[in-house]
């Protein structure tokens, strides 16, 4: 078997999710090549070459891939990937965008968002917002699979020495152009891979009050997330949403503040190791999954939490 892993990156650095996907590839077994498609992404290729268990790094460096447009990546990955038994990518917004195109161009099904590898053709994935867990078997010759990064412990990012090979395959479908992007700038860790996440919900009442959570998060080196209710209400931007349709997180510690715990939110965080809930409604469903529940007014509890943390951190 031979597995092609599509690297997730921002043209300058390799995202940790790639190391999680390589771990999923190792669970399948076989030679693992990594494709880095981007623009001026040499540093990413070097980083990918150091990842544990990688056989070869293929680099497609061209302006056509600079913004990860699904039309162009889809054609590239279908072309490069047709010689492999498996094509894997992280189930982030880039992978979710281009991978189904790859599958369609290769006339195979895609298995989305796998949490576990049972065998080379059988995978475990959540359905119904994680309310059911399905084991599915693919009968296709090439398995196109997106991987839930938090479900696999990452391979080591250092120590490997894979060969790096430049590809001169340029696929510009000419169907789409990048116009602009508004990316959140934050010094905090990436939400999807942070060890600690502090999230706020509708109970935060407005965006300004999220500053309280940011202060607590910064004491612990945590990322800040939000429930859909807080995003829909306009308190915070969409990239902070944790849940079925937002980001899936599984940190060591998840602190839910003023979040009632809708099933769609739980689908995004219930694999966290330790869950803390702070909510004034003791009937809130979040308490049913919380290891530690504090029934309290968050506007009193969060400043107290900040003070207590200052004593111990």
């Amino acid at each position: 078997m031979s597995i092609l892993v599509i690297a997730e990156h921002d043209n300058s650095s390799l995202k940790q999710a790639t190391l999680n996907v390589v771990a999923a590839a190792k669970a399948i077994g076989g030679d693992i090549d990594v494709l880095v498609a981007g623009e001026n992404c040499g540093a990413v290729a070097e980083a990918a070459a150091k990842a544990e268990g990688v056989n070869k790094v293929l680099v497609a460096d061209n302006a056509a891939y600079g913004h990860f447009l699904g039309e162009n990546l889809g054609e590239l990955v279908a072309e490069v990937g047709k010689g492999y038994s498996h094509i894997l990518a992280a189930a982030g917004t880039v992978g979710k965008d281009f991978m189904p195109r790859v599958a369609a161009l290769l006339d195979v099904a895609q298995v989305s968002d796998i949490m576990r590898v049972e065998s080379e053709d059988t995978f475990v994935r959540p359905i119904y917002a994680g309310n059911a867990i399905a084991t599915v078997k693919s009968s296709d010759s090439i398995k196109v699979v997106t991987v839930r990064p938090t479900a696999f412990d990452p391979v080591a990012g250092e120590g490997g020495s894979a060969a790096v090979e430049q590809l001169d395959v340029v696929k510009d479908a000419g169907l789409s152009q990048f116009v602009n992007e508004e990316l959140a700038k934050s010094d905090r860790p990436d939400l999807a891979s942070a060890g600690i996440v502090v999230s706020g919900g509708r109970g935060m009442q407005n965006g300004d009050n999220f500053k309280m959570l940011e202060q607590v998060a910064d004491l612990m080196g945590a990322a800040v997330g939000a429930s859909r209710a807080a995003v829909d209400a306009g308190f915070v931007p969409n990239d902070m949403q944790v849940g079925q349709t937002g980001k899936i997180v599984a940190p060591q510690l998840y602190i839910a503040v003023g979040i009632s715990g809708a099933i769609q939110h739980l689908a995004g965080m219930s694999d966290s190791k330790v869950i803390v809930a702070i909510n004034k409604d003791e009937e809130a469903p979040i308490f049913q999954v919380a290891d530690y529940g504090l029934v309290a007014d968050l506007f009193e509890a969060v400043p107290q939490l900040e003070e207590e943390l200052k004593k111990v951190m």
Binding site: I127, L175, S176, F178, Q244, G293
Partner: protein
């Protein structure tokens, strides 16, 4: 311009999902079904494009059993002009759904196809992208804003780091995210009017598409449940437990 909207009949958003005791799937017997929420957003966006004078006709298509006509009628009540029902009692997976929709696109030649980004049953997030690839169209996935300008559509997409805007040549495929719009409710007069709107019925065979599934579901289980933990009395106790018991800070 003509807009094609695809809608799917799924378990109602508010229904508690239960896995069947024999682990063959989810229990859908006597369960309330509804239009997939992301598809409602797709219908709403098409209706708004028509209200702005951008769309001239809205065709709504659904693939599924006879009862899927209810969801087509709902879309017609919300403002779609006519419906197409691709009727089958078989399971239709994403790739096969995309092939059926491709056949409909070839008949109807819409300038814009709008779909939900995923259905809340299979959570695949594939069909729109597959349809775009099969028809050679550009795709604006996870859309939070759609602006048609001349022969292009600008789509603002919800991506991991924030928002990204792409310009797509028309015809194009758009898949909806949560914040694209807030769907309206159908009024009673419009529900009555929708009953008289045209609805074509066809089979996958009529469209020349083989819908045999590529993926087989071996079993479906309930997720491992988390046990509720303890309630702490105050913040000091919480921090103490996190530090000394859970050892996570």
């Amino acid at each position: 311009m003509k807009v094609l909207v695809a809608v799917k009949r799924v378990i109602d958003y508010n229904v508690k999902v239960r896995v069947k005791p024999d682990n063959t799937g989810v229990d859908l017997a006597n369960v309330k079904m509804a239009m997939n929420p992301f598809c409602e957003i797709a219908v709403e966006e098409a209706v708004r494009l028509k209200e702005k004078g951008v769309a001239s006709e809205i065709v709504v298509v659904s693939i599924g059993p006879k009862a899927s006509q209810e969801q087509i009628r709902t879309a017609l009540a919300l403002g779609a002009d006519r419906g197409i029902h691709v009727e089958t009692d078989e399971e239709v997976q994403s790739l096969e759904a995309a092939k059926l929709l491709k056949a409909v696109v070839e008949k109807e030649e819409p300038k814009l196809v709008i779909l939900g980004k995923q259905s809340i049953d299979s959570d695949n997030n594939q069909t729109g992208q597959m349809l775009a690839a099969l028809t050679g169209m550009g795709q604006g996935t996870f859309a939070s804003e759609v602006v048609v300008e001349g022969d292009k559509v600008n789509v603002t997409r919800e991506v991991d780091g924030g928002l990204m805007t792409v310009a797509l040549n028309l015809p194009a495929v758009v898949t909806t995210d949560l914040r694209l719009n807030e769907p309206r409710y159908a009024s009673l007069p419009n529900i009555m009017k929708a009953k008289k709107k045209p609805l074509d019925n066809m089979s996958p065979a009529d469209l020349g598409v083989d819908i045999a599934p590529r993926l087989s579901t071996l079993k479906v289980e309930a997720p491992a449940s988390r046990q509720a933990g303890v309630k702490v009395a105050d913040v000091a106790e919480l921090v103490d437990k996190l530090k000394n018991e859970a050892k996570v800070i």
